[in-house]
């Protein structure tokens, strides 16, 4: 119940990043990802990492929270790092042990890839989930995709579906916990036994969960119809999105960052990341 609070990723705040227009944030986040992938050597990575630290400062979010968001990735990061260390052949052999040989290049490469993964995750979560409410995010996405409605893509319906899905994640989590408790009270055991037994133990949770999700969906549909919801056509918004000087600043900084990365890639020497 109260334990699932941590799931609502959005962190309340009034910082520069919070106040940016979600449309621009989406665009700039994509741009930023491109910039991260453009990075080829240590200098560019250092520059981008520095800008990411600047972003964290700008968001006024406790860095601890951002580090915590990386925790689920530890496994992936370790695996990529290990594969890279042993896989890559280079010139400077550090040591070899039977068929396994480790090169300096492999270690540098692994390090850079890890930095890349961390940057990708932290920047996107920072710009999108931590400083933007899910509603603002889907709103922004809807407006960005609005031109696609001209070729008959159901953009509004799509974003409405996304908003509803996001809205119901905490509700469903709570529901799951309730059902689990009820079945536990009847002696169901979810944590011991073989894989097959555990999978079977999920049936008494999944069936009631599906049933209540369908019921909820139907009730929601009726409630929406009662309030005359007919889809996107002619619908106005309560919160109209406005771009501000912040978005312009964001754009300029990102463009400059991109230019700097391209230039450094071109002229600075140093080890180049492969992959």
């Amino acid at each position: 119940m109260k334990n699932s609070v941590a799931f609502g990723q959005y962190c309340e705040g009034k910082s520069f990043l919070h106040k940016m227009d979600p449309r621009w944030k989406l665009v700039l986040a994509v741009f930023y990802i491109v910039v991260i992938f453009l990075c080829k050597n240590i200098f560019t990575f250092a520059l981008v990492a520095l800008s990411a630290i600047g972003l964290v400062a700008l968001s006024e979010i406790n860095p601890k929270i951002i580090i915590r968001s990386l925790k689920p990735l530890v496994m992936i990061i370790c695996v990529t790092a290990i594969i890279n260390i042993f896989w890559l052949k280079g010139e400077t052999l550090l040591f070899s042990f039977g068929p396994i040989s480790v090169y300096l290049e492999g270690i540098i490469n692994a390090f850079l890839i890890v930095v890349r993964v961390i940057l990708l995750v932290s920047v996107t979560t920072l710009m999108l989930t931590y400083t933007t409410t899910p509603i603002a995010l889907t709103d922004g996405l809807e407006q960005l995709l609005a031109p696609l409605a001209k070729i008959k893509l159901p953009v509004h319906e799509f974003s409405m579906m996304m908003t509803i899905a996001l809205r119901f994640i905490p509700t469903l989590l709570e529901e799951t916990e309730k059902i689990m408790n009820a079945q536990r009270a009847r002696g169901a055991d979810f944590s011991t036994g073989s894989l097959k037994q555990r999978a079977k133990a999920l049936v008494p949770i999944l069936i009631p969960l599906f049933i209540s999700a369908f019921r909820r969906a139907e009730e929601l549909a009726i409630a929406m119809e009662c309030r005359c919801y007919t889809g996107g056509e002619g619908r106005t918004r309560m919160n109209v999105l406005h771009s501000s000087y912040r978005d312009l600043v964001g754009l300029i900084v990102t463009v400059l960052l991109c230019l700097a990365v391209v230039l450094i890639n071109k002229f600075a020497p140093g080890y180049r990341i492969s992959m």
């Binding site: 119940m1 109260k2 609070v5 408790n181 009820a182 079945q183 536990r184 009270a185 055991d189």
Partner: protein, 283 residues
């Protein structure tokens, strides 16, 4: 069969986060053996948290839950055996139904306990009888039942485990008055016949007055009053101050007293009031 003793129990939700909230604060209650205890309190008073403690769904931060003389968390690995001894019927328990037929669903608990097939058969048919489900319904899918029937099926699902202590969180919430009365009187009959201890959480003062032998009043995570319904409901002002109420008939007695007709304030059922008014004991 067994009494549950709560000793210095405290529980905090979201410990160590900014959302920390003290749900139970040093609670000491004894739920007596072979009787129906009512647990009342305003929303957020910690009733449901307390109920989740009784069968080990939540682990106390400090303090003990003592069932039949033993701390239930003495051996955390054996907590599931405590859940068989203390049957918990949750609020709106209909959502726990999942199996193909009502019968199979009721057998879920007994099966988890490792009962033999013939024992299960017997336990199920007894539970069906106690819950007042019509026998022809038990081969149906639980999702084809009406709301009241689903409630009974869910109730039977817990009763079939033959718990020593039966805990019911708002067993009659959302039912029509007829079904409400029937379910509650069936619970009382079950208690009288089986000699188990029953704990009922409810917001309805009338139900508490009608069906409970003892009443415990919770407010802000601690019990503030305890006693027989007559004792508790005669202290109406204290009940009002913790956001609760007294049965309508108790209010009538209070109004009568103000008009100069004193029939006592420890009145909590209509029968009882009538007895006093006609000059005598309960009729």
């Amino acid at each position: 069969m067994a009494e549950i003793q709560i000793k210095d129990l405290s529980y905090i939700y979201g410990k160590g986060t900014p959302y920390e909230m003290k749900a139970l604060d040093n609670v000491n209650i004894t739920f007596g053996d072979n009787m129906i205890t009512g647990l009342i309190g305003h929303t957020g008073s910690g009733k449901s948290t307390l109920v989740h403690m009784l069968n080990g769904l939540l682990r106390p931060d400090s303090g003990q839950v003592i069932l039949g003389g033993k701390d239930i968390w003495a051996d955390p690995k054996k907590i599931s055996s405590v859940r068989f001894r203390v049957g918990l019927v949750m609020q709106y328990p209909e959502y726990q139904l999942f199996d193909e037929t009502v019968k199979k669903d009721i057998a879920f608990g007994p099966k988890n306990m490792g009962m033999k097939p013939e024992e299960i058969e017997k336990a199920v048919s007894e539970a069906v009888k106690f819950a007042g489900l019509r026998p022809e319904l038990i081969e149906k899918s639980p999702f084809d039942l009406s709301g009241g029937q689903k409630r009974r099926a869910a109730l039977a699902g817990v009763m079939a485990m033959k718990p020593e202590v039966l805990v019911l969180d708002e067993p009659a919430a959302g039912l029509d008055p007829g079904a409400r009365r029937e379910i509650l009187s069936r619970i009382r009959d079950y208690q009288r016949e089986s000699g188990t201890s029953v704990i009922i959480v409810s917001h309805s003062m009338e139900d508490m007055a009608m069906y409970c032998d003892r009443v415990v009043v919770m407010s802000h995570g601690t019990p503030v009053m305890e006693g027989t319904p007559a004792e508790v409901f005669s202290r109406a002002d204290e009940l009002f101050s913790v956001g609760l109420d007294v049965p309508e008939v108790t209010k009538v007695a209070r109004a009568l007293k103000e008009c100069g007709v004193d029939i006592g304030l420890d009145i909590y059922t209509v029968k009882f009031a009538l007895g006093r008014l006609l000059g005598g004991g309960e009729i």
